[in-house]
Structures are given as structure tokens and as C-alpha cells.
């Protein structure tokens, strides 16, 4: 048990934590917004929009994230017109490509979660709101969204945790996240287990904290389902 080595490894890995966390936070938020757009398309009633959303979800859920990442980072840069476009400074940067790719991927999974949550809103409660004269916007804001949110949280928390694990892939497109640092330590010192174990522990604790945060939020929102404390 080489304690100084373990501690040193830990500090080096924590140094890369901001990269992991920022990639995660950005891709989850951007992906979440995209997902709302996709879900809206899916339930819009417009055949072309629905078809596009279905196709998008099929592709981004069916192909491995790694290949999606490579298509965007390595693939797009091979086109002259991409290199000449205004997006180039953005698309040549590994960080932006990684965030973009992860966001596009989680959008597909999240969209299905949101769609399921919307479908689970009891139709009778929607009718009661309409019968009171609520406008479409008020109906969505006050009734549909709050109920759907509570429905979506358990499945969405799983998806968010999947995303922290997915960030490890950015090590394969030259980003210096925790995974990259762990591998470098292994390569430099030829010690196999320690860096990977410490990295694993950090990821595990991270996911544990995220899971707890979601559980706390779910608890806060579910007073109506718990037993009443008289």
C-alpha cells in the first residue's frame, strides 16, 4: 500500500475533475434543452416533425456514443467546407466537439424519458384544467409540466448518471479528463491497479452524490404521495 503514491494519484485526478464536471454539466444542460425540443416535435402532430424526431432518436440511441464522437470530431474536420465555415473555430476544438456530441446523444435518450413522462400525466386532470378555462400555456406551466417533472425524475437521474460515465470517452478525443490522467499515470509508472482504482472511486463517489441529490429533489416534490403525518 504505497500511500504517498495513492495520495499523489488522487490529487492529480482531482486536478482533472473540473474538465470531467464541466463537460458533464454542459452536455447534460444542452442535451436537456435539445431533448425538450425533440419531445415537442414528437408530440406536435406534424408528420414531418415527428418523423425527424423519431429518426434522430433512432440514430443517436442505436449507434455507440464513441462512434458518434468520432464522426463529429474526426469526421467533420475532414470536410473543406466545414473548415471554411464560421463554425470551424468551434468544431476544431476537441472540447466543443465532445460537449456537442455528448449533448446530441443524451438528447435522444432524455427525449424518450420526457415523452414517457408527458404520456403519464393523467388525462382527467388535464381536462379539469381545460374545463376551468386555462389557456394552453397556463395548462402546460401549472399542470402538465409539474406532474411530468415528477414522473421523469427517476428515469432522468439514471440518464444523468450515464452521462458522467460517458464523459470518460472524451479521453479518446484528446481531452485531459480524469480518465486520461489515470491512463497517463499508469503509462508513466507502470502501476496498473492504483490509478484506475482511485479514478474509479472518484467516479463512484461523484455518481453517488448525484443520485442522492436527485433523491432529495424527488423527496421534496413528492409530499402528495407520501403518507400524511397528522
Amino acid at each position: 500500500m504505497d500511500l504517498p503514491f495513492i495520495v499523489d494519484t488522487f490529487y492529480r485526478l482531482m486536478g482533472a475533475l473540473p474538465v470531467t464536471l464541466s463537460v458533464w454539466a454542459l452536455s447534460v444542460s444542452i442535451g436537456g434543452l435539445l431533448a425538450m425540443g425533440l419531445t415537442w416535435m414528437r408530440v406536435s402532430g406534424s408528420k414531418p416533425l415527428e418523423a425527424f424526431a423519431r429518426g434522430y432518436i433512432f440514430v443517436f440511441r442505436g449507434a455507440p456514443l464513441l462512434i458518434q464522437l468520432f464522426v463529429i470530431y474526426y469526421g467533420l474536420s475532414s470536410f473543406a467546407f466545414v473548415r471554411a465555415s464560421i463554425f470551424w473555430p468551434f468544431l476544431r476544438d476537441a472540447y466543443s466537439c465532445a460537449v456537442l456530441s455528448l449533448a446530441l446523444c443524451t438528447a435522444a435518450y432524455s427525449s424518450e424519458i420526457f415523452r414517457g413522462a408527458l404520456a403519464a400525466v393523467p388525462h382527467g386532470q388535464v381536462e379539469a384544467a381545460k374545463a376551468c378555462g386555462m389557456s394552453r400555456l397556463t395548462l402546460f406551466r401549472r399542470i402538465i409540466f409539474p406532474i411530468a417533472l415528477r414522473q421523469a425524475l427517476p428515469a432522468y437521474s439514471t440518464e444523468v448518471i450515464s452521462m458522467t460515465k460517458a464523459t470518460a470517452l472524451v479521453s479518446l478525443v484528446t481531452l485531459w479528463d480524469m480518465m486520461s490522467v489515470a491512463l497517463k499515470i499508469r503509462n508513466d509508472t507502470l502501476v496498473t491497479y492504483t490509478p484506475l482504482l482511485v479514478a474509479g472511486a472518484i467516479y463512484f463517489v461523484l455518481n453517488f452524490l448525484i443520485a442522492r441529490a436527485f433523491m432529495a429533489f424527488e423527496y421534496y416534490l413528492s409530499a402528495h404521495q407520501r403518507r400524511r403525518l397528522v
Binding site: 433512432f58 440514430v59 442505436g62 449507434a63 455507440p64 456514443l65 464513441l66 462512434i67 458518434q68 468520432f70 464522426v71 474526426y74 469526421g75 467533420l76 474536420s77 475532414s78 470536410f79 448518471i161 458522467t164 460515465k165 460517458a166 464523459t167 470518460a168 470517452l169 479521453s171 479518446l172 480518465m179 489515470a182 491512463l183 499508469r186 496498473t192 491497479y193 484506475l196 482504482l197 479514478a199 474509479g200 467516479y203 463512484f204 455518481n207 453517488f208
Partner: protein, 241 residues
């Protein structure tokens, strides 16, 4: 690079990577199946440990599931591949074999995918077992069925039946996770796409082609599982969907 050239590269001729890609897809299928089976073995063990009521084995099972759901799959691949190679090298050195002894990437990859898959399959099997009506098990006991026979004829078939939807899902996950095995150098679809992309300097074409083949595998898998589910739930009365 003209369009015709690109088509030639994708094809089966002399310069064509088509055959290699298909072979890669086959490898992907094989390693994923191997991983799923390993996961099935591990998952059933964990499910059984949780259902048995034995506190220690349940705790071990829970710990295994929690750990491998909470760490990146890529990390598990590295850990299993490098770790088992390190282990083997150490053992080799002990008996006098010099230098690095590598574990075959296929085995390491399948094991890694299987370990992660097992953590999720455990829940599927546990849920499927709990879904079997109590009464059926009591009926089996009351006609004097021995435990092993009951397991073979009543429990196992029913668990499989209820587990199919969940397993279909986890199969898709295994297929996609298998792409991570590319880091070990195994010539599965992801790795072949990578090699082809580098060799032809056409990353977009070949990563897209690889992606398309994965989608094909996904679609075919869906069909198979839908058929399996339809056959398995023949006798079940479902709530009107």
C-alpha cells in the same frame, strides 16, 4: 477523392474495406454475445444472492451492482484488460516466462462487458422472479416437485419469459458497450472503422459506415427480441395496452 473512389473503398474489391467492416460487425456480435452470457451468469448469481435472504451474500451482490453501475464502462474495460494482463504477466514471471503476457482482447473485452451487464441483469432477473405468481410455486411444491426440478421446469422458464423485455434493452447496451473494447485493439467494428478511417484518410465515410452497421445490428436485434417476446408472452394475459 471522387465519389466513385469512396464507393470503391466501401466495397469489396481490392481497395475495399467492405469485407473488413462486415467481419468487424461479426466480431462485435460475437463479443457482445459472450459478454451478455457472462453477464447472465453473474446477474443470476447476484439476483439469487439478493433473493436468498442471506445478508452477507445480498450485501456482496448489492456492492457489486452498485460499483459497476457507478463507474465508467471504459474504465472497466481498461481495468480488466490491463489488470488481467498484469496478473498474467506476474504469474508468467513466477513460472519463468519473461516479459509481457497479454490476455486475449476478446476474453478481456467480453469479461468487461459481462461484468457491467451483470450488474444490470441482476435487477432484471430479480424483478422477473418476483413477477412469478406465488401460487404457481406453491402448486409445484404441493405436487411434490423436487427443488431442482421446480427450478428447471417452472422458475427458469418463467423468469426468462418475464426478463425478455429487460434483456432486449440490455443487449442493445452490450452491443454499444462493445465499441469500447476497441481500445484493446480487438478487431471489432469500431476498431475496423478506426483503422479504415486512418488508412484511407476518410474518417467521415468510415465512421458513418461503422455507425450504419451498428444501426443495422440494432434493428435486426429489435426484430429478434420482438419475436422472442411475442412467443414468450403467448400464454400471458396482458392488460389492454
Amino acid at each position: 477523392m471522387s465519389f466513385a473512389d469512396v464507393i470503391a473503398q466501401l466495397g469489396f474489391g481490392e481497395r475495399g474495406w467492405g469485407l473488413a467492416l462486415l467481419e468487424g460487425a461479426l466480431m462485435t456480435l460475437l463479443v457482445s454475445i459472450a459478454g451478455l452470457l457472462i453477464g447472465a451468469a453473474l446477474g443470476s448469481l447476484v439476483a439469487w444472492s439478493k433473493l436468498s435472504g442471506n445478508i452477507i451474500s445480498a450485501a456482496v451482490g448489492n456492492a457489486y451492482a452498485a460499483i459497476f453501475r457507478g463507474v465508467p464502462e471504459l474504465l472497466v474495460v481498461y481495468f480488466v484488460y490491463f489488470g488481467s494482463s498484469a496478473l498474467l504477466t506476474g504469474l508468467g514471471n513466477l513460472i519463468g516466462i519473461e516479459g509481457f503476457v497479454g490476455v486475449p482482447p476478446f476474453a478481456a473485452g467480453a469479461l468487461a462487458v459481462g461484468i457491467v451487464s451483470g450488474a444490470y441483469q441482476a435487477e432484471v432477473y430479480r424483478g422477473a422472479y418476483l413477477a412469478i405468481a406465488r401460487g404457481e410455486l406453491e402448486a409445484a411444491k404441493s405436487v411434490g416437485m423436487a427443488r431442482l426440478l421446480m427450478f428447471r421446469r417452472i422458475i427458469a422458464p418463467q423468469v426468462l419469459r418475464f426478463a425478455i423485455p429487460g434483456l432486449g434493452n440490455l443487449w442493445q447496451v452490450a452491443l454499444k458497450d462493445s465499441s469500447l473494447i476497441s481500445v484493446t485493439g480487438l478487431a471489432e467494428l469500431m476498431r475496423v472503422s478506426q483503422v479504415a478511417a486512418g488508412s484511407t484518410r476518410q474518417p467521415f465515410v468510415f465512421y458513418l459506415a461503422g455507425g450504419a452497421l451498428y444501426l443495422l445490428l440494432t434493428t435486426l436485434s429489435n426484430r429478434v427480441f420482438d419475436k422472442a417476446e411475442a412467443r414468450a408472452t403467448r400464454g400471458l394475459r396482458r392488460a389492454a395496452s
